[in-house]
């Protein structure tokens, strides 16, 4: 029995790099930094003042006023990314059985800004209470539920929570779901980490950069790496059964070939970069399940968290898998900030665009690699054919996921 193949036929990006696949790709190629002082609230009293925010976003372009009041900004970005992806894919959902379509997005921290507002309503007055929408806007499944309702996607839906790694796990889950008979599954995810309370929570890890210079604040793999800058947004992609995509004459970006997920089995500790062995094992599993060898990989999009020990462990894991030469490595996380699971999904989008346009974008924010981080970085945008791309992500406290996507071939 040949296994059902899952391909990607639509990309929707809503990120600091812009709205829509084209805007994102343009930013990725021009290399302009999209980090700036936080505008969602006054960050003066916090050690972290920079973030990646989605520019010129108008939720009214995507949903009704009624839906807007019942949802958090994180879900708004999910609605928008979904709409962009569906439009890009040209899929006509009205011709499909709703049970053949589903949503499998990653979520990490839920509707933070909305939730903080409701906590304030509850606690600031003795008779305070929350609104009727708190129960449906704050919880982690809000985006998936709302998107499934809006677009009538009634098959097996999933909400994956593995911090940044979940963004890749969602593509694995979408593919599993397709292999069990579903025709189209939305994968990816967005994140909304920019409320004062959510920022306070993130500060407790001491993994964020306190620099206020957007050009040097977040420099993964660099000797000057000092942590990451958080960002809002992410990407939603259309994952589709190959036969279904071919029958409707869809334009195919690439194929989900395989994945591997492992866990360190121990907690993230300050100064520890996590398990090199388990991270490398995730990559090897992904290659093995893809039926590919390490030497066939053309480019790797790393997690690039910008914490020195973690970057060094990541580089060591890649060396363990690929040897000293290794494939091209590129990351634009420093350009747009860390969107957690949203960022991993954006990396999948970037990898597929690199494949489509035969162009590898430059690594952003890297001047001099830190000791142990001397990888084959793409230093400037380079015209080159890509057939196989590996995208990696790590979730806080030990999650490792590696996803392999390939150029679609008959």
């Amino acid at each position: 029995m040949t296994e059902t193949r899952a391909v990607i036929t639509g990309i929707g990006v809503v990120a600091p790099s812009g709205i829509g696949a084209d805007a994102h790709w343009k930013t990725v190629l021009d290399g302009s930094t999209r980090l700036s002082r936080i505008t969602r609230f006054d960050p003066s009293s916090y050690p972290v003042t920079l973030a990646g925010e989605v520019p010129e976003f108008d939720v009214d372009d995507y949903i009704t006023a009624r839906l807007k009041v019942a949802t958090d900004r994180w879900t708004w970005h999910g609605f928008a990314a979904t709409q962009e992806a569906l439009t890009d894919s040209t899929i006509d959902l009205s011709t499909m059985d709703p049970y053949d379509t589903a949503v499998a997005l990653a979520s990490s921290s839920g509707g933070n800004e909305f939730g903080q507002g409701e906590l304030q309503s509850l606690w600031c007055e003795p008779d305070g209470k929350v609104s009727v929408y708190q129960s449906i806007a704050w919880f982690y499944a809000a985006s998936v539920g709302q998107i499934s309702i809006l677009h009538q996607l009634k098959g097996q839906c999933s909400v994956l929570v593995a911090e940044a790694a979940g963004g890749l796990d969602s593509f694995a889950q979408a593919t599993r779901t397709i292999r069990r008979g579903t025709k189209m599954v939305l994968a990816g995810g967005t994140e909304g980490p920019l409320s004062p309370y959510a920022l306070a929570c993130q500060l407790s890890t001491n993994r964020l950069s306190t620099s206020d210079d957007p050009t040097t604040a977040y420099t993964p793999f660099d000797g000057g790496a000092r942590g990451y800058i958080p960002a809002e947004g992410g990407a939603v992609l259309v994952v589709e059964d190959l036969d279904h995509a071919r029958e409707r004459g869809a334009d195919i970006y690439g194929e989900v070939l395989g994945w591997g997920a492992t866990h360190d089995g121990k907690a993230s500790r300050p100064g520890s970069g996590g398990s090199v062995d388990q991270y490398a094992r995730a990559m090897r599993l992904a290659l093995q399940r893809s039926g590919r060898t390490a030497s066939e990989v053309d480019v790797v999009f790393p997690d690039a968290v910008g914490v020195l020990a973690a970057d060094q462990a990541e580089a060591a894991a890649m060396r363990a898998v690929f040897g000293d030469g290794g494939p091209a490595v590129t990351t634009q996380k420093a350009q747009v900030g860390r969107m957690y699971q949203g960022g991993a999904a954006v990396d999948v989008a970037t990898a597929l665009q690199a494949m489509r346009y035969d162009m590898l974008p430059a690594t952003h924010g890297l001047t001099d690699p830190a000791p142990g981080c001397e990888l084959n970085f793409v230093r400037e945008a380079t015209a080159r054919r890509t057939d196989i791309a590996m995208v990696n992500a790590r979730g806080y406290d030990g999650y490792n996921t590696s996803l392999v996507v390939g150029r679609y071939e008959d």
Binding site: G110, Q116, L119, W123, G128, S135, V144, A162, A261
Partner: protein, 426 residues
């Protein structure tokens, strides 16, 4: 060992439970079979300003459950439930976690609201009781990020045992528990892991959650008689009673379990989830999507609808839910819906949101193991729209070879899972 559909077969070899009225597997089962209710006036905080002031609280002692001082400091209450139930389930399974096993053992846990309890407690401090929008982060505790991201639940279990297999938290609201076990089931079916520590945990009894359900009148407003406040399928039901807790099942590939001579509770023979595409909280009375999930999950194991002996209902005790799922059972099982024993254990231990799905699967495993169907406590008055056999008040001895459980949650998710007595391994 492969089943008829080519997938590997998966069995349950260990069960651990923390629930109100019973903080170990054995206590849980004796609470259920005695028909004892664990619902009471909320004691965790002053709930006097809220519409609903009853809940099913667990008298859980993390030290007695074997948690270390550091785990207790670090882990929010729901994670503590996860650690305690994982420990009990692993011990029950007799599994030896040697290096080779750890590589292929995963952790998949469900949770609907994650670290809400810790997040709210910390919020009160950093915001100075809600006075400051620009919260003062210097008043936050060292594990605030673990509270923000519910991935902590599975991670902390993986840390304790040093497991290296696929690890995930599934958060699909009130179907999280079934969906997490379903996700784990598929991973073992596909060979992505041989063993998975699978379950769910939630500890939602806090002001913000109570207020959230007050706002939409989902929880019961009857506070005067807490022991009888949760009345699923009864004509006088007024809403659900919040609970807390967790359960873990050890899911294991059949050949792996047989090779080590493990006790097998049952086989996981089906799981499906469908969304109603209708409303975040509302349910159409026809039960269409839940019935579809049931039918698909029965078909996966080639289970005849007439062979369903027990249905562990979602039975939350809201007007719309109990009517909705009764219709779904009839649609999926036809006249056999009247022959099956149905019950809602939420009548006794409340509705612990994402956790309850896993607790109900634990109840199904124990039902098959003991051939005793737990009752629906507090049932006394028939609702014409809920006319099945809900096993009122008293547990019943019955040969149970096939148990079906369903969940229904915010977001419109409808999930179904089937546990079957292990048949001859082919």
């Amino acid at each position: 060992m492969s089943g008829a559909d080519g997938h590997r077969r998966v069995v349950v070899t260990g069960v651990g439970v923390v629930a109100p009225g019973g903080i170990t597997r054995d206590q849980f089962w004796s609470t259920l079979t005695a028909g004892r209710t664990a619902t009471r006036k909320i004691t965790f905080f002053d709930a006097s300003k809220f519409r609903s002031r009853v809940a099913a609280e667990a008298d859980f002692d993390p030290v007695a459950a074997g948690l270390s001082a550091q785990e207790i400091r670090r882990a929010d209450r729901y994670v503590q439930f996860g650690l305690a139930t994982a420990a009990e389930a692993l011990a029950d399974s007799g599994l030896e976690l040697d290096e080779a096993t750890l590589e292929n053992t995963g952790v998949v846990m469900g949770s609907a609201v994650g670290g809400t309890l810790a997040l709210e407690n910390e919020y009160v401090a950093v915001s100075n009781t809600g006075k400051e929008w620009l919260v003062d982060h210097t008043y936050g505790g060292p594990f605030l990020y673990q509270a923000l991201v519910p991935s902590s639940l599975a991670a902390d279990i993986a840390h304790r045992y040093g497991t290296h297999g696929p690890t995930q938290v599934i958060s699909t609201g009130c179907t999280s528990g079934i969906d997490a076990i379903g996700y784990a089931w598929q991973l073992v079916q596909d060979g992505e892991a041989d063993v998975i520590i699978a379950g769910a945990a939630d500890s939602p009894i806090s002001p913000v959650t109570v207020s959230s359900f007050d706002a939409i009148k989902a929880t019961t407003p009857e506070n005067d008689d807490p022991e009888h406040a949760s009345r699923p399928f009864d004509a006088t039901r007024k809403g659900f009673v919040m609970g807390e807790g967790g359960a873990v099942l050890i899911l294991e590939e059949l050949g792996h379990a047989l090779a080590r001579g493990a006790k097998v509770y049952c086989e996981v023979t089906g799981y499906a989830s469908r969304s109603n595409g209708f409303h975040m909280t509302g349910l159409r009375p026809d039960g269409l999507e839940m019935s579809e999930a049931i039918t698909v999950s029965l078909n996966q194991g080639r289970t005849n609808p007439d062979d369903v002996d027990y249905i562990c209902a979602h039975g939350s005790g809201t007007k719309q839910n109990d009517r909705h799922e009764t219709a779904a059972f009839k649609r999926a099982l036809g006249d056999h819906a009247y022959q099956a024993s149905v019950s809602s254990i939420k009548s006794m231990i409340g509705h612990s949101l994402g956790a309850i799905g896993a607790i109900e699967m634990a109840a199904c495993a124990l039902t098959i193991d003991n051939n005793v169907v737990p009752p629906t406590a507090n049932w006394s008055q028939r609702d014409p729209e809920c006319d099945l056999d809900y096993t009122p008040v008293h547990a019943r001895e019955r040969q149970v070879d096939v148990a079906l459980s369903v969940g229904s949650g915010f977001g419109g998710f409808q999930s179904a899972m089937v546990f079957s007595r292990l048949k001859e391994a082919s």
